[in-house]
């Protein structure tokens, strides 16, 4: 039993603070819930066999919705929709934005102009508005909602990675690599990439919460998940029609809140634990 405290003490100071621990536990809990959903959910999330709009009580702790579905089960299963999609969304934004930014920074000239002006255009719209316009044009579906958020989300990664690449591009060790005959690709991969990954990954953690809020917001607007599926934003939307049955909207909303909170607690800790160089790179993104 002595081993645990030792491992604990070896953690960096920032990760031992209450905020980091709470965030870590909350995130872990949600991952477990998503993985073990069939074991944890007391009912089938889609079965409409319970009394309609029953308040929270034994048998259905979070109440039931207007179709007689168990809200607890739907919230639990909702983790299987929202968590993977959020991760996928951020991973794709990192890949696309990071790569485009690196291309802009490394090659400069017209590639830089074209990519960064495109990013400026994305920043010219308030986020939900642009995502909403794109989602509406693509047609409402969860996949298209992910695509719409992607259209909005890549730009900030592009800005950060461009800045980082620009900073190392002219440095001697990169130039000497080129002089040794490194191809463009190898130079990018071996000399440039390691400088970019750290800050971008921190940014990605900070961005998770925002991505989930955007995605569930689109679903709330009816531009994401379609009715039968248990998606938290869509569940809150269905609670609008029956707002006097407070439990219909409250619990899925709490699910969104706790997941976003967990990401933000972790992101904030990460920001504190950062080395100054990374901190500066992130700060350039302003938000």
């Amino acid at each position: 039993m002595r081993r645990l405290p030792q491992a604990w003490r070896r953690l960096p100071e920032a990760w031992r603070r209450p905020l980091a621990v709470t965030g870590g536990i909350m995130a872990l809990a949600w991952v477990v819930i998503a993985l073990a959903a069939p074991l944890l959910a007391p009912h089938d999330p889609l079965a409409q066999d319970l009394p309609r709009l029953a308040g929270p009580g034994p048998g259905h702790w979070f109440g039931t919705d207007q179709l007689g579905r168990d809200i607890l089960s739907r919230v639990v299963y909702g983790a299987r929709v929202s968590l993977p999609l959020t991760l996928l969304l951020v991973a794709l934004s990192v890949l696309i934005g990071g790569l485009l930014g690196a291309i802009a920074g490394y090659f400069g000239r017209w590639a830089d102009e074209a990519i960064m002006r495109l990013a400026d255009l994305v920043f010219a719209f308030p986020t939900i508005i642009l995502a909403m316009v794109v989602a509406a044009a693509l047609g409402p579906s969860l996949g298209n909602a992910v695509l719409a958020v992607l259209v909005v989300a890549w730009a900030s990664y592009a800005r950060v990675s461009r800045g980082l690449v620009l900073a190392v591009r002219g440095q001697e060790y990169v130039l000497s690599g080129r002089l040794l005959g490194f191809s463009t690709w190898r130079s990018l991969r071996v000399d440039v990439l390691p400088n970019v990954t750290g800050p971008i990954l921190v940014l990605a953690t900070l961005d998770m919460g925002t991505a989930l809020l955007l995605l569930s917001g689109l679903s709330f607007l009816g531009l994401g998940a379609k009715p039968p599926s248990a998606e938290w934003g869509a569940m809150v939307a269905s609670g609008v029609e029956v707002f006097d049955s407070w439990w219909v909207a409250t619990f899925p909303g709490l699910a969104i809140l706790t997941v976003v909170l967990a990401f933000n607690f972790l992101g904030d800790t990460l920001r504190d634990a950062l080395d100054p160089r990374t901190a500066r790179a992130i700060k350039e993104r302003a938000l």
Partner: protein
Amino acid sequence: MSPTSVPSDVTALRDRVRRLRPFAGFLARRVLIAVLLAWGITLVTFVLTNMVPGDPVAANLGQRALGDETIVAQWRAEHGLDKSPPEQYLMHLQALLHGDLGMSQQSHRPVGDDLAEFVPATLELAGVAIVVSLVLGVAFGMIAALRRDRPADHALRMLSLIGISVPTFWLALLAFYVFFYRLQLTPGSGRVDPGLGAPESVTGLHTVDAALAGQWDVFASALGHLILPALVLSLYTIALLTRFTRSAVLEVLGQDHVRAGRAKGLPRRVILRSYVLRSALVPIITVAGLAFGSLLSGTVLVEAIFAWPGIGQYAYKSATTLDLPAIMGVGLVVGIVYLVINLIVDVLYGVIDPRVRLR
């Protein structure tokens, strides 16, 4: 004219230009960028509208008319659909310059008219929300920075983290349920009590119009209706501004000019106002511009719940009914509003901090 006077005149002129140039040049650059972005925004909405799967002809003409080729061809020609995309874009741009944003499929009115009706309601809501956010956010941020690592700082950090994590649409619904439905502390949906009726429109802002007309009962009602949605809307931006003000103030607190002020024995109040807040204002204003963007995003989610007749609710209705011209109109107008706000922020930035102009 003596040969020497010409160069001296030129020199004098050049001097004047040189003195003016940094700011004029800075301003011109900013305006040019804004105009280019505005053009880009029209391009984005145009491309998106034309990306839509689905045939606009089928959507607008009845089944029987679709069978008749001459009617279809006539309709296509009338709407410029027989032209190439670039030509169509030019027509679209021309229409936009005349304020023509197309017809809403939902209200069967020109989108421009719809927007003109709804924009003031949103500006009133967002205006109150941004003022609330700035006052509270800057105050909380100052408190947190000055009480660094003490209970007040920890509490504010926790609260601001919660503030940026709450889904706005959920909070709006919850607030509506608790404060209106349960506690009946606030009036329900809409902008004024139904019995009172809207004041005569001068600015479109109900509170201002009511005050101008001297209808104080309407003013009170309009203000009452504003409070809850404005507070819900501003929670996120209050949290955002708290976090940014805290870090901006912390950065300034460690700087030499603040230490010098303290060493001179200046009163704390003077140091805070003239030394700390003044320097921290630049980053705060930048964030305020961004915050306004998230307020505009938030209106889409909040207005739907409070039945606030603004562009947010209009956007929500258009999104749920897939009324594309209306959605594009909202995107265009909100994009332009945001652009103007950012232009103002940029220029303010240059006014406050001369270093920015020279970059």
